[in-house]
Amino acid sequence: MATDNTDVLQGTLDMLILKALSLEPMHGWGISQRIQQISRDVLQINQGSLYPALHRLERRAWIDSDWGTSENNRRAKYYRLTSVGKKQLAEERASWQRFTLAVERVLQTT
């Protein structure tokens, strides 16, 4: 399937998308803007990864999509979190915290 070999990053992207959508339903561009804003421009989301990820998440039924109208009256595809997605976000968050904690510990031991 995907040729991307950075699984951690991909997993991270999925989590970030889920987190962003947990605030409110958004279209793809909105998601990328939101993540960028919140991370103070540290995390730049590449469209090339964003959309395949969105479609993947949708296929796993973690998110759902509907066509709606954007701020400037354009037809746009809005994604929102499903209940499964909420659970998934909680799980990913927990495992991410375990992971960063573990990495932190490794780095602190010198």
Binding site: N46, G48, Y51, K77
Partner: protein
Amino acid sequence: MDALHLLARRARGFLRPLLSRRDAEAELDEEMRFHLDAEIAERIRRGMTPDAARTSALRDFGGVSRFKEECRDAWGTRVMDEVSRDARYGLRALWRAPAFTAVAVLTIALGVGAATTIYSVVQAVLRPLPFHDPASLVAVVTTYRGKDDAASALDFVDWRRESKTLTGMAAIATDAMTLTGRGDPERMYAATVSAGLLSMLRVRPLAGRVFRAGEDSVGAARIVILGEAIWRRRFSSDPGIVGETVRLDGNPYTVVGVLPTRVTYPAAAEIYLPLVFPTGDLDEGNRGARYYDVVARLAPGTTIEQARAEMRTITSRIASAHPQADEGVSVRVTPLLEETVGTFRRPLLILLGAAGVLLLIACANVANLLLVRAAGRDGELAVRTALGAGRARLVRQLATEALAPFLIGGALGIALATLGTRWFAVAASDTVPRLTGAGVDSAALLLALVATLITGVIFGVIPALRFARLGVSGALRGAGRSSQGSIARRRARTAIVGSEVALAVMLLVVAGLVVRSFQRLMAVDPGFRRGGVVTFRLDLPNTRYGDAAKLRAFAAQLDDRIRALPGVRASGRVLRAPLSEYNFNVGFSVDRWREETGSRRPAAQVRIASPGYFEAMGIRLVRGRTFTARDDANAPQVVVINQAMARAHFSGENPLGRHVWLGWEEGGVRRGGEIVGVVDDVRQFGLDRPSAPEMYLPYDQTPVGPMTVVARTSASPDVVFAAARAAVRELDPDLPLFELGTLQERFERSAARPRLYMTLLATFAVVAVLLAAIGLYGVVSYAVRQQTREIGIRLALGATRSNVAGTVVGHSLTVTVVGAALGLAGALAVSHLLQALLFGVSPTDAWTYVAVVGLIALVGVVASWVPARRATAIDPASALREEG
């Protein structure tokens, strides 16, 4: 969310892109456009000029198609998508190379079609007999001095009584009877069979019952079983016919049952009657009168070897007890299937072999075509790989492309096989038994399809895999030039074409031998002139023409009527006409009758002819005279003999005036008489069978019921037949004419089997040679294309155009000669198998082999002619600039 909901949602997420691809694509596009527009708007808001915003946004957005592909990946539709794209691409590639496609598809279709057809026919002919436990059925055949003969009633009765290894032994005689009373009188083949036969075969009647034990004893009621065909045609499939009475030869018979066509045995039977041995047959004096076929079933637990041993013991005991009749008599026990179709096994297997070879050639040809194509595409593939096409993807696509002609050709092959089998079943129905209802054999079809598919995989897919190993740079370097891979490929192609030529040569030799054999057969002088002669048969029933005077009277009237038929110049009657199933071999003594044991007495074929017969048939008189009207009942008995008899029994002496006497007495009169004439030999039993010693007796001195009328006429046969029917009806309204036809038809029918084999083998050979020629052409013209530069250099260095052409033709001839040598060796090795198919030609006939070599060499030259012309037309300057 409950599980069901989740499932539904997942299913929707999964299915939607699959089900509505177009919508999904459109939505994806719209989503991308929205994103881009939003990004541009954002950049303008941040202070960029609209143009700069657009340009930078587009740049940052990156390759749309790549991540669209990834989105599709996420949909999971990619595999399906690519397969259908490969198929489309494959078809497009085929369409772009119509010559390649046409040749490949036709080749595969012909190979599959021919092989499947012949295999299906062989299956139909050699399939088990349609009876219970068919493997245990055997034929018991009397042999006399090693030659097959029918069994006598007494031998049969003794066998049946004494054998423990065989059960249900039954005797069969075929007879012809006339059905009257319902429409026109009709002549039909009646099988008179022991009452136990049908229950031994365990056939189930369509209506009524089969014969019961005892119904074949003397004095039993007259009963008949109808065959399905007659029942449908004459009695409109009425099951109520059982219990009714029909008239056969003027006598009433009660119908007791109807037998389905499928289980007809013997094959020609139209009706069945219980076989009641005529009382005379069971007199010890008639042990030598052999008319009966005998079938039986192996007793449970016995082998055919045990049955053979036992039957031989019984028969030799009978022979030593009755040396007068049975000296030299033995017995042969053969599986019934073998007895029925045994003579067809060898020719059919030869045909099957030939069809198999054709399939091999077809596969080789396609393999060759695929290799040529693969070679031409190294460059293209290398470029595509360099541009980023996935390797697995390319291999898959090459495979799809290679297999496409196999699928189309295979489908066409199935159609061809269906038509071919149907054609064969009709065209050969008179020639080859058991073809009714023959259909395409699915196993054979599968085998042929798999064989071609394997070729496709080996020569279409494996080169693709090799390419994958070779890698981009190697392929790019080698593109258009002689790389390592292309040299190996050229060798492979040369080897393939060489074997094609070898196989084609084998088929050519076989076909050549069979064609020459057929020519020899057609060149045989049959001993009569076959043009413009019509024949039909009559059989005066004993019931109404019981005595000689009545027979003579009818015959005289008939002769007058026949002479008056339209266009008749000469006419006569005979028992029976040449090339018919008739064998009346009678022992005789020269000069005076001597009582001798059967084995020491010479025998000759006896025919009964009217005075006009020889002239009507165009049988040449060698010396003396033929019969005249004066050779009547009151005149001294006379005979006419053939040259074979004159040679065999009167070597060097003048037979005229001598007497021969036959082992045949009637009414106290011994048949035979003074030899008054010698006529030319007639091929009575088939063009390929030498004439036996033979004598003719005049009809009026030996009147019999069955007769064949022959008339040499200038009118059309149909006119003559209509007039003849009317004429005979006036003489006797209940007398049917049957086996109406011309002598020419009879002649052709007698050669139908060799003609069929020849037609098929020759067709296979022609196709094989065409395929081999295409293969040669492909290899040579490809070599020329690859060596354009080399040829250019040679021309630039002063080689003449004829040098170049010679090299090209020489290349083709080398392949041809090596292939032909192998093919000839192969043909010589298998030629002895052909013996059974050949007449008058040795399987190692030198002329055939020489002609084949000449023909194949010619094919080699012709196939390389066009490429050679192209080579000589190469312009050195441009050839050198190219690929420089």
